[in-house]
């Protein structure tokens, strides 16, 4: 049985469909990436699939249970969600922000069980944030802040992690480090779904890519099967060269817009 199963999700605002008839399922142990041009409906699809937005039609289920019948904490213990917008208002210490990842387990920054503290420490270590624990959030660089949010999501240690553009603000080194964390989480049996704009990173790290355009899922499969010059032209409107590398991966070179 799939961990998360989204069936025929549709959602429109003022008669304009943002997501139309989208279905997909996520299996444990795989890193799935959602790609598509700006405005394709990726974030809306994530929110629909997570039950944060009520679909016009269709449904989403987690472990076979309809998400709309689950309480927010029940859902949050299964899914950690890292949204695209991560506004902070208070200059809280890094440790306390990451500790909020344990919220669904009844924890608060001032009240962490031993399990919670251990999970927070593991997340801090995974995101290379040792030594930053007491730094106020407003003294961090954009990249450091992104890693703090990532650590917050990892601290939940949930079976499914859904992230909306988690590496957008990161430099190349930290992009690769973050995606390596994702890949190893997948190897250890978790399911991950992440929106990403950098297609080379998608080609390099994804087990599977879901392609979206104009609110619809237009393709779904491994990078090798789906990342073709034709797909890149049709979905993104770009000319690109795609070549298989010796180690079985893909080398992608974007030439320019069509």
């Amino acid at each position: 049985m799939s961990l998360l199963e989204a069936k025929n999700l549709s959602y429109s605002v003022d008669g304009k469909p943002l997501v139309a008839d989208a279905s997909f399922a996520l299996e444990p142990g795989s890193l799935t990436m959602l790609v598509g041009p700006n405005g394709a409906g990726k974030t809306t699809l994530l929110r629909l699939a997570l039950g944060l937005l009520k679909p016009d039609t269709g449904s989403s289920s987690l472990d076979g249970m309809d998400l709309s019948n689950m309480s927010p904490p029940q859902r949050a213990r299964k899914i950690a969600y890292l949204p695209q917008q991560r506004p902070l208002v208070w200059p809280q210490p890094v440790h306390d922000i990451i500790a909020l990842g344990r919220f669904a387990y009844g924890a608060a920054p001032s009240r962490l069980s031993d399990d919670d503290s251990a999970a927070v420490s593991r997340a801090i270590a995974a995101c290379n944030l040792e030594g930053f624990e007491e730094r106020p959030a407003d003294t961090l660089s954009g990249g450091e802040l992104s890693r703090v949010h990532l650590a917050r999501a990892l601290a939940a240690e949930s079976p499914l992690l859904v992230a909306d553009e988690p590496v957008a603000a990161l430099d190349p080194r930290h992009q690769h480090e973050a995606l390596k964390i994702f890949a190893s989480a997948a190897t250890s049996g978790r399911a991950l779904l992440t929106v990403i704009h950098d297609l080379s990173l998608a080609a390099r790290y994804a087990d599977r890519i879901i392609w979206m355009r104009d609110g619809r899922i237009v393709d779904d499969g491994t990078p090798v099967d789906t990342m073709t010059p034709e797909a890149l032209r049709a979905v993104f409107g770009i000319e690109a060269r795609v070549e298989k590398t010796a180690d079985g991966g893909l080398a992608l070179e974007i030439v320019g817009p069509t």
Partner: protein, 324 residues
Amino acid sequence: MRVIGSLATGLVIAVLLSLLLGSVPLPIDRVLAALAWQASDGDQLVVWQIRLPRALAAAVVGAALGMSGAALQGLLRNPLAEPGILGVSATAALFATFVLYFGLATAGPFVLPIAAVAGALLATLLVAAAALRNQSVVTLILIGVGLSSFSAALMALLMNLAPNPFSLADMVNWMLGTVANRSLDDLAFATPFMLVGIAILLATSRGLSALALGEETAEGLGLNLKTQRLGVIVGAGLSTGAAVALAGSIGFVGIVAPHLVRPFVRYDPARLLIPSAILGALLLVLADIGVRLLPTDNELKLGVVASLIGAPIFIWIASRRRLA
């Protein structure tokens, strides 16, 4: 916890100090004897009927406003949110004045508190609905200013139409805010609303922590946003309304107290609530002592002093915000 301890100690000392002040000079041993029911009838009357109600009124009003401010700031994710700034106090005062004006307050002791609470709830609901629809901080403050001005305009209208100088003086008292001449009965009718409000706010505290990361993340963390919003709105409405019923409109306590406490609780909106309430109480008790010590012909109103101190601090906080 250390913050709470020191603030609470400060509050007890301030309340004792305020019992020493008044037109009849009473040394501390006679005040303590009166508190223990061991003094002359005259001393006991002064302490139990005049000074203690006044000090307690200042304390509970400060506590209710301090905690409401802290909770509203957590919900709206804005350090400038406060019952006074958002027009909640002004609307509550308007409703209270309204029942006074039409002589409805004589119908029963709970009429006035209920009217003030209704006004506060209405205003909190309006402002929160607008704030949550439109995420802009500036819009929120502007709506609050608009609501305050509108309530003030309606209040001015009532004053304009006031039938006699006595009702006019009554209304001025409401607008300026004071805890002078409060009785233990007044306290008894207002504090139940306050206690319920404070209890509701405390129940929302963990959710306020989650909201520090934004509404979308908080929802993802498993917070029920609707319940959370409703809790803070009802809790802050009840506490602020009851505070206004007891003391009229007193501004800025709800902004100054949380602001001063925040660095001592690691900026955690949950841990902010209780110390903000205690500091709010302490500030108002001290301000009320100040009001009585200042050698003016007419005793200054507590709300006037609170605004004189609070408004510049508000401007200072607004100009020094670090995170967007």
